[in-house]
Amino acid sequence: MRNVETILAQFKEIAANPRQAVADYRSETGKGAIGIMPIYAPEELVHATGYLPVGLWGGNQSINQARTYLPPFACSVMQQVMELECQGAFNDLAAVVFSVPCDTLKCMSQKWKGTSPVLVFTHPQNRGLESANRFLVEEYTRLQSRLEEITGVKISNAALENSIRVYNENRAALREFVRLAADYPQFVGAVSRHAVFKARQFMEKSRHTALVRELIGALTAQPLQPWSGKRVVVSGILLEPDGLLELFDELKLAIVDDDLAQESRQLRVDVQEGNEAPLYRLARVWQRMYGCSVATDTKKLRGKMLIEMAQKTGADAVIAAMMKFCDPEEWDYPIYFDELEKKGVRNLMIEVDQGATSFEQARTRLQSLAELL
């Protein structure tokens, strides 16, 4: 049995080399990859074609060409994606699946600079009506036929049901990992924890599940140890780059749960089993999604969710990882900030810029939090 460190090293290796992951997949299966833009997409449809769904969540490079096409106040994920597009990094993708839940994504979907076909679909704004489900089924049907056209693969109901099962199993395994990581912060620091999620974007999901299960086995074989640091919940779009995560490890701030769009929000809702058509059940996921800034929530339950998350995990604080220039997240923040304050839940806001190379201000904020807890 491999040890925790070795397995985590494998996750880190995959997370750091998406191009290699795609090349390996291609050589093993003869099939290519399809890009999945943030934030939510029915990846199961892509998986059912046998192509590898690859998350396009930016990078960490200096921004040059993207400045021609994006204003400086576009979020860093989109700046990074645009830079990579301009460099032709995505041109070997068979297609790019593009949801448009925020204004920047809407604009980005209309100015793709790569050569791959862009498959745009729209989530319904009103998530409380049955007609919204039917609307999304129509969108997914259109997406399915475009995927079939491009890949030359007819997506059967059986294949889609299999992909749904693979994804549900993957989400369940990761949820278990999240709970365990909170118990073993000595083994799973912030950088490692993130790598497990990041690798998910570049791996076929049943393989990812197997690796996560192996990690779970290796972790549970270890004795539980007391943690001398603090425990935090993080919320936001994503928490990158590694330089920022290293501060958490350095300051002994264990991430015991997250509400990150790139991480646990992807695990929040499974596709339900049932007799309805698989596309309908996939569409229902959007209506059952909660606690996300881009999914309209008339009841504003994110604050309540974060408070419960902190209470359940015994977290010392909630950290808002505010994606710089992300207005959906900025709009949510004052609401849940007030709720956290009223409940006496310690909280902190740090700014996240994927391309950042210096983290002095984040260090000051995080160190201050660690000092006052």
Binding site: E351, T364, R365, Q367
Partner: protein, 265 residues
């Protein structure tokens, strides 16, 4: 027993020495920050002034932007903790701190015992900080010391609407070319700094006695503008630029006390 706190900021270096009774022995400022000779010079300056040597210092705590690169510190604390500690020592009734330094601004809310309840720092850019004032002073052909006096002669402060420091500089040049008086522009600049800084205070929640620290607190024009913006009286901490170093010295004093027990001398 002596304890020393050093605050290595982006634009200046500050040092404070406390004696065994927690009294301030000396406080020094050098207008050069991290990455310059400032940290070394402020240490030389404070030792030269007091006649003390490094070996007389039982504990040394560093804070500020350059705290991790300052050699010889026993510990590092964040500026937030140190400003809170320093201000609580100087003005025990303080419940809200507005610290405006060279390139960052912080609003800190304190509890009754001086503990930090909440804080916010500026993000995205350095507009509304000391650097912003420096740039404006240069284009207005004045210096930071004279800006407060010129501000008092303003009769119709101009509006500086740009958030970006560089665009605000262009706006000031445009105002000058349209004949606006230097006094009215300076008052406008002060109002602009105050509006940005008070946005942080608003996020943090303003409570009780408000105290300003940092180099910018020495500019009475900005203090007046902050007072107007918050619609309440503002206290300026004594020697406001060294409040963070004082807080660091207080942490160092605690450590020294712990290490030496009640030993004095």
């Amino acid at each position: 027993m002596y304890a020393l706190g050093v605050d290595v900021g982006s634009a200046s270096s500050k040092a404070v020495i406390l004696d065994r009774n927690r009294k301030i022995v000396a406080a020094e400022v050098v207008q050069a920050g991290t990455g310059t000779t400032g940290p070394r010079r402020v240490m030389e300056q404070i030792f030269s002034k007091t006649g003390l040597h490094r070996e007389d210092i039982v504990k040394l705590v560093a804070t500020g932007y350059g705290r991790m690169r300052f050699e010889g510190a026993d510990r590092q604390f964040s500026e937030i903790s140190c400003h809170a500690r320093g201000v609580h020592y100087l003005v025990p009734e303080a419940r809200t701190i507005l610290d405006i330094g060279g390139q960052d601004a912080k609003a800190i809310r304190l509890g009754n015992g001086g503990e930090v309840k909440q804080f916010f720092m500026n993000d995205k850019c350095a507009a509304g900080t000391g650097r912003f004032l420096e740039v404006m002073a240069r284009v207005l052909e004045t210096d930071l010391e004279r800006m407060a006096a010129l501000d008092t002669a303003a009769d119709s402060p101009v509006s500086i609407s740009s958030t970006c420091t560089v665009f605000a500089e262009s706006e000031v040049i445009s105002q000058l070319s349209h004949g606006a008086s230097r006094e009215n522009i300076i008052a406008g600049v002060h109002n602009s700094v105050a509006a940005k800084a008070c946005g942080l205070v608003g996020r943090c929640g303003v409570e009780g006695t408000v105290v300003m620290t940092g180099g910018v607190a020495q500019n009475a024009g900005v203090v007046r503008a902050v007072s107007r913006e918050l619609n309440r009286e503002i206290l300026v901490a004594p020697n406001p630029q060294t409040a963070g170093a004082l807080g660091a010295a207080l942490y160092a004093w605690d450590d020294a006390r712990r290490e030496r027990g009640d030993e004095t001398g």
